[in-house]
Symmetry: C2
Subunit: 347 residues, 2 copies
DNA sequence: TTGTATGCGTTATCAT
DNA sequence: ATGATAACGCATACAA
């Protein structure tokens, strides 16, 4: 067969030679120039040669010659978290749509590696970086991160964050404010009066913002949140469980636990149940995000739907076409999803 | 500030010039050659210049000069599926471990794009491609895919699949055989005697292999599977639900539904319950895979744990260090996880 | 140890 | 319309 020796790859020159044309013509015939056109006959011949040799262009060489790549970088905390998985998946689709490909990086539990990851992507000369925030203990950008972003941007790189504020960087955010309002109104109407708020890490801006939004929204409904009824913990399932345990041990008297995201709610719910609390009769639960696996938990969890797909699409569009100066912030609407974890409460 | 005009990036030449050394010295000082060493003083000066200019190497140029990249390609069906998410996450960690980065591609529902995706990754000259099979309707490699893989391999590329057979390609597989055996034994001991097998697509080799393994394993326990009690459907949650509905409408008399993966089991379980079946008393359920979200479903699902992390690590190692000729197949052990969806059955 | 020069595969700018 | 040829940014064989 036409298999060449391993390690070698047919180059454009090989193709040109095989077709008996110049390198330039081969290039134009295969990857098409915007200015030049190749004659019908030659084009056919070149294409045939390319096929015959099994030619595949070298994207790295193209990147260098063109001065730009077709890669976009995506940074998430942990793909195991359904929220990130959903966003990453949508991002992948959106990228394919625009004929780009994804370089995906996860930071695991190490926020401190964030700057390093950005530098890596910088090295790859990705066209844009989408930084998906949301589960790190703290999401205040460190000096390291800021300078890495700054270097990248100074090279013409584009950055946009999702659910995370970085000075001078465009961002796409969830309308936590409105979500809290919808949920608070719903709970009030159902008869809930003493909420327990399961907040995220105290250093996490989304956690702080969102819980503040809940406190306000509840106040608007005439429901005051007792200071002891706001517990901070990790933005994870375990975090939710721990917060719930703390609440139970403190013997708080509440009728609904409002978690700042779904996984926390699930963790808290499991913990409550494990401690003999009747869910949802004795204690109701709400989440935030509407991750897919929610459809299989019992009772199904009342939550606020975050359209992760538009989140991703908007972020990518913003990254590629936006101003790129931090003035292009976008907020995506959310929607209450009432389910079984918050039954109507008898007075 | 030292911000350069957007679009431009300081190059190694700039650094060399700034430090007053040659290009070669700058290169060696920054990325360290294995043969050459740079004097202490000069190295410092170069590094300082690099820092001062905000220099970041161009990975594309390096790739070209070195003739090799640090990228590995990963192809999954859908990140929204917890199984793929888990594998991809583990892959990301494994890649970081080896100082590589991930180029992630999802095929969505379009198996037919698989060849195209491989060609793309080929273009990028990724060091290796890990193809994670498992949810496509059919996973028989098409001629398109085969030739794309062949071209890539002939260039020195490495391919390994997970849970999918492609001729001449190394693969990492789950020990379905043993998983079926463990589960069958468990079910038999608990008193189950008439199983319903929820299989995957008829064209899907994993589905076929695994259900055959179950039929055998059950037979070994003296349990025969009635032909009508093996239903094929999609490898998805919806597929599971549909299969369950068909079984219910057919009025099958069974005591346990054995799904070929977790999401099918969850879909089937929900469907059964929606149709008034008491779960698990009236009908028990088992899955395969042990995806994380299982901990929040009630009753918790008995399943077979697939160590997705070692799956990913092994695949990557095999891809990078293996023979690369299809003789390096690896099988990873699985483990029964008995939970509440299969209670002991009163004779 | 340091510097010079060449090549990696492609695009783009010139001529022709 | 086609063909030379110069970049692109870096690593390395060779020379000093």
């Amino acid at each position: 067969m036409g298999r060449r020796t391993p390690g070698s790859a047919p180059t454009l020159s090989d193709v040109a030679q095989h077709a008996g044309v110049s390198l330039a013509t081969a290039s134009r015939a295969i990857n098409g120039s915007q200015t030049r056109v190749v004659g019908e006959e030659l084009r056919e011949r070149v294409l045939a040669s390319a096929r015959a040799l099994g030619y595949a262009p070298d994207a790295n060489a193209q990147a260098m010659a063109r001065g730009t790549t077709r890669a976009v970088g995506v940074i998430v905390h942990d793909l195991t978290d359904p929220y990130f998985a959903a966003v990453a998946d949508a991002m992948s689709r959106a990228a394919t749509e625009r004929d780009l490909f994804l370089t995906l990086a996860t930071t695991g539990n190490h926020v401190e590696h964030l700057a390093e990851v950005v530098a890596q992507l910088d090295t790859l000369r990705v066209r844009a970086i989408v930084l998906v925030g949301g589960r790190w203990k703290a999401n205040q950008p460190t000096a390291d991160l800021l300078s890495a972003v700054d270097r990248y941007v100074s090279r013409g790189g584009r950055v946009v964050t999702i659910g995370m504020e970085v000075p001078g960087v465009d961002s796409v955010n969830v309308d936590s404010e409105d979500g809290a309002r919808q949920l608070a109104r719903h709970l009030h109407r159902l008869g809930y009066r003493s909420p327990l708020i399961l907040s995220g890490p105290e250093l996490h801006s989304t956690a702080v913002t969102r819980s503040a939004a809940f406190v306000r929204a509840l106040a608007d409904e005439g429901i005051a949140v007792h200071p002891d009824h706001l517990i901070s913990s990790d933005f994870t399932r375990t975090g939710g469980a721990i917060a719930m345990r703390m609440a139970l041990e403190a013997g708080v008297d509440v009728d609904v636990a409002i978690a700042m995201n779904d996984v926390m709610a699930l963790g808290a719910m499991a913990e409550a149940r494990a401690n003999g609390v009747a869910v949802p009769q004795e204690l109701a639960f709400t989440g935030f995000g509407d991750i897919p696996s929610l459809q299989d938990v019992i009772p199904s969890l009342t939550t606020v739907h975050i359209p992760s797909s538009s989140l991703a699409t908007l972020a990518l569009n913003l990254a590629l076409d936006g101003p790129g100066d931090g003035t292009g912030d976008v907020t995506v609407p959310v929607m209450l999803v009432a389910r079984d974890s918050t039954p109507e409460r008898a007075g």
